[in-house]
Structures are given as C-alpha cells and as structure tokens.
C-alpha cells in the first residue's frame, strides 16, 4: 500500500486535473486533425490527434527559431508541473515538515516510450548505422529534471537523496513505473517516489501507428461494435507516492496493489484470451482482496486490444462475482502512450472523490461479443455500481502495452464524509 500524496497533469484539455476531468464528464472529444505543416516530416494526414495546444510543438526547420525542440518543450512542461508541485507543497507543509521531507530518501521515475527521439532520429534516414552515436532519448530531460529537483529541494534546507530511473515499457510505462515505485517503497529504503510520465506527439510516432493501420479515421469508440482504431494523444503527468501521506488533504487515495505480467506472443497484439492481463489482475487481488466499485480500462478502441481486455475483465469479474461498470478516457484525451496509465489513475481518483462516473461517451453500440457492463453515453449519472453511502470505494485501472506487457492497479479512496 502506498499513499498518493500529489497528482497533476497537462493534457490536450489544458493544464490541471480539473480541466481533464471536466472534458470526461462533459463528453468532450479533444481531438483535432493532424496539422502536418507543423511537423518537418510530412505525415500521412487523415487521422485525428489530441495534442496539447501550444506553439511549442514542432521541430520544423524553418520554425526552429520560433519554436522549441521536443527536448526543450518537455523540459518546459516538466518545469511548469514541478513548480506547481513545489507551490502546492509549500502551501501544505511547515518549514520543519519541508526539511523532514527533503531529508527522506526519494526516488524519481521518468516513464516514457520515446522521450525526445523526434529531435534527432530523422537525421539518420540516409545511414541508420550512424544512430549508434545518437544521444539517448531520455538523457537530456532526465539531466534537466535531476538539476531542477535537487536545486529546488535543496533550498528547503536539508540534505537530499534523490535517485533517478528511466522506465520505458511501451504504453504500460506508467503502470510499470508505479509498480517499481511500490516495490521501492516496500522492498528498499525509499520513503517517496515521484513518477513523471510523458509522451509527445510528432511525425515518428504518428507515422509508426499509421504504418500499423491502427489509427481511427473517424472518432475513437472503445469497445464499440464499429470501433476503427485509436487516436493518439499527448500528456504530461506528475505523481508523488509516499509511505506516509504528506498531502494533508481530505479524501486521500492510496494504491492498494499493483502488478504486471507479460506474455511471449505477438509483439504488437495481446493474446486473444487476455491471458497475461488476467494473471496481473489475480496478482492484484492476491495483494489486496478489496473488490473494485468501478473500472477504468485501457480501452484503446483497436480491434484486438479491446477484445483481449474485455475478456480478461469479464473472466476476472465473473470469478469474483462482480458486475461493476467499466469506463475509459481515451475517447476524450487520446491514447497518451507512456502517460496513459498515470492519466487513468488521476481519472479514477477523481471519480472516487466525486462519486460520479464518466462514460465512454462516443461508444454508441457495444461489440455484441462483450458481456461486461460498460458505462455508455447517456448513463453518466446512473452509477449503478456505486454505493453512495459508503465512505470507502475502490477502482481498478488496467493497462496494456506493446510486447505483451500488461498491468493492473487497485486504488482506494476514503472520504472524510459522505454528503448524500
């Protein structure tokens, strides 16, 4: 078990968790057509993406003087989220508590699939072998984070120990970073673990998913009978996990359990029976036998991912005699790759605190193969799975990644009081 002491995000909806949740509750799709002229490499236009609305996102040669590179942009976004965190913590902690925090042992995990690879990878089209000398895609950002974190915390007046690790584990990167945070707090001597999860959209990522033919040409409809693929999104999230909650906030959330599993099947497709996700779910249940009250699924909207995920959810719920509503976020905010699991955790915590579930707003007709109870459009306030009188509720959040890395986590929120 570990406490969630802080959470924040920046998505295509805007800066902060509130605006992200507002889009989910109001059924807002934040996607827009790819603006290929912003990217130096022309990409096949046709799909939609959920990109953070900022003049920062480009590597276009002619605009390099006006715009930032991906690496610079990621540093800027990190700096903004980090400053918001410092401001928040300063408002919550006394000077003595700040000094105590910085004297404890801190792990900082960067979770990302591609880092700032877009900045340089196109330079090696003529000779891929030269890429052996290319920079590490995470090095610039992690060096910057190291400097920012240590210098700002040092101002709080105590010696600090912050270790940095980079987790790159496809679209399950957030979940794996959270699992590694959990292992580090329980098995090693860390007191706190930050997880900064990010992925930026650029021509490399777009072209890659386009080549796989998994991008939706219409709108993203997870678990729908007529689903036609995913839409890409970009996001930056920052979480602080602690052995002891330092946030002093009401209605605090905690990770009860987190587990991952792999399968040696196809590199891109999960096995049709969702086998490794199911094993991860049962491992979570072994760690904490609390039953979830609702579910935030990975729900990419691709044919095979949704098929495997629904099967694992169905079997798990049946085994535990559960029938709780399942929802997802990607129809609104896109598939934010390495950051998607961290965003889904933010959404799950908001639902646990608000006692109001968001729906899969763009999914009109479920795939007839599916038996799981999905939260569809028009049933936003139904919340059949919720016992509104209960102070303690929990959510399951699942994640699937390329290479058959699948993971699940169980998060619980204890309300100080129940209004209804």
């Amino acid at each position: 078990m570990m406490k969630i002491s802080y959470a924040d995000c920046w998505t295509a909806a805007g800066l902060g968790s509130e605006i992200f949740m507002s889009g989910l509750y109001n059924g807002k799709d934040h996607s827009c057509f790819v603006e290929a002229d912003q990217w130096s490499r022309l990409v096949p236009v046709g799909g939609k993406i959920c990109q953070i609305q900022s003049p920062l996102s480009t590597t276009s040669e002619e605009n390099k003087t006006k715009f930032l590179t991906y690496s610079e942009m990621q540093k800027k976004y990190f700096q903004i989220l980090w400053q918001r965190f410092l401001h928040h913590l300063q408002s919550q902690l006394t000077k003595t508590e700040q000094a105590r925090f910085t004297s404890e042992k801190i792990l900082f995990l960067l979770a990302s699939t591609k880092g700032s690879v877009e900045d340089y990878i196109w330079d090696f089209q003529a000779d891929p072998q030269k890429s052996r000398q290319a920079p590490d895609p995470f090095e610039g950002l992690v060096s910057f984070m190291d400097e920012q974190v240590k210098s700002s915390l040092a101002e709080w007046g105590a010696p600090i120990t912050v270790d940095f690790q980079v987790v790159s584990q496809a679209c399950a990167s957030s979940h794996l970073a959270i699992e590694m945070a959990h292992l580090s707090l329980h098995n090693m001597d860390y007191d706190h673990a930050f997880v900064f999860a990010l992925d930026s959209l650029g021509p490399f990522v777009y072209q890659g998913f386009h080549s796989l033919k998994v991008l939706s040409t219409t709108v993203n409809r997870p678990f729908a009978a007529d689903r036609d693929g995913l839409q890409l999104g970009e996001a930056y999230t920052l979480h602080l996990f602690s052995k002891k909650d330092i946030s002093k906030q009401s209605n605090s959330c905690q990770i009860l359990a987190v587990a991952s599993e792999t399968e040696g099947g196809s590199v891109t497709r999960p096995s049709r029976d969702g086998g490794s996700l199911l094993r991860a779910l049962f491992k979570v249940h072994q760690q904490a036998s609390v039953k979830p009250d609702f579910w935030v699924a990975h729900g990419t909207g691709t044919l095979f991912n949704d098929l495997a995920e629904e099967k694992a959810i169905r079997i798990f719920q049946k085994e535990l005699n559960l029938s709780v509503p399942v929802t997802g976020t990607k129809w609104s905010i896109g598939h934010c790759l390495g950051a998607s699991g961290a965003l889904d955790l933010i959404a799950a915590c908001a639902v646990l605190k608000n006692r109001k579930l968001f729906s899969l707003a763009q999914t009109q007709k479920l795939d007839p193969q599916f038996e799981t109870k999905f939260q569809l459009n028009g049933s936003v306030n139904a919340n059949e799975g919720f016992n509104l009188q209960s102070k303690v509720q929990a959510a399951m959040v699942t994640s699937l990644g390329f290479g058959g890395v699948h993971a699940a986590l169980l998060v619980q929120c204890k309300l100080d009081r129940v209004d209804d």
Binding site: R132, N187, S276, F402
Partner: protein, 160 residues
C-alpha cells in the same frame, strides 16, 4: 542466494545466417539487431535448456533507447510496420519471453549518466526479493555502444 554471471559479445556488422534457435521465435528473420543478439546470447548461455520458469522476475537494462531500430524505421519508405514494432526498448525482452517460453514481471530500465544507478536498483530488487519472498531474478544488461574492438556486449546475471 547465489549469483551466476554470463557474458556475450558480438560484431553487429557481421551478417547472421539462419540461427540454430530459429524455431524458438516467430519470424526470426524480422528481428532487429538487439533482439537477434539477445536471443543469440541466451542460446550461447544455454538458458533455453533449463527450466522454463528459471527465474521469477526479469530486469532489462539498456542504453540509448531503441535508436538503431528507430533509425531503420525512418530510413524505410514506405514505412514498414514490421520495423516499427521494434522501436521500443522493451521489445527485446518481449522476444526473450518468446525465446524462453517464459512469462512473468519484466522491468525495463534505461541507463543514462544520471540514472546510472539502474544496475544498483536492479540488484537491490533482486536481493530484497530473494530475501523477503524467495524470488529469483534475471538481470540482462545490453549496450548499443561498441567497445574498442567494435563489439557489442550483453551481460546476464541470475540471482537464485
């Protein structure tokens, strides 16, 4: 607890013929350089002959992300989906899963000068997992950089 260590070096510019382990991995001929190398390393270490659940968790440490596979992807026109699937540092471990018919938790760390403690974190987890739960850990360290003799090096450590 005991520790076994393994080492494998290879010339990445040498053409690879049909490997003896070809039946263990689907479409082995599509593998990228790193995935091909890790399979060759495991085969040389003869790990495939041992129990399929030789270890309980697997930690993969690499440097320079998937730069080489990324560059190969952008060099192709039209873009090939069979190349794109290797453009993640976590794909080589997925190929290892197939090679060993192994499943379980895999943790992929990227080693940079700042996160140079990836190895230390991995070893700490291996030791604490064994001491607390009796879990066996396999750590694979794979570098893209060439050494003085233009070879790439792969190292393996089994904690059991």
């Amino acid at each position: 607890m005991s520790t076994q260590s393994f080492s494998f070096s290879f010339d990445p510019f040498k053409k690879i013929d049909e490997p003896l382990w070809k039946d263990r991995v689907d479409r082995w001929y599509q593998l990228d350089e790193t995935s091909m190398a890790v399979c060759s390393a495991l085969f040389e270490w003869n790990l495939q002959q041992r129990s399929t659940q030789l270890f309980d968790q697997f930690i993969y440490i690499s440097d320079f992300g998937s730069n080489l596979a990324d560059a190969e992807f952008v060099a192709q026109s039209p873009s090939s989906p069979s190349r794109f699937v290797y453009t993640l540092p976590s794909i080589a471990p997925a190929v290892i899963n197939q090679f060993l018919a192994w499943s379980g938790p895999v943790y992929c760390l990227n080693q940079t000068p700042v996160s140079a403690s990836a190895w230390q974190w991995a070893e700490n987890l291996a030791i604490s997992s064994f001491n607390k739960k009796g879990l066996r850990t396999f750590i694979l360290v794979c570098s893209l950089r060439l050494n003085a003799t233009k070879q790439r090096l792969i190292k393996g450590y089994l904690y059991e």
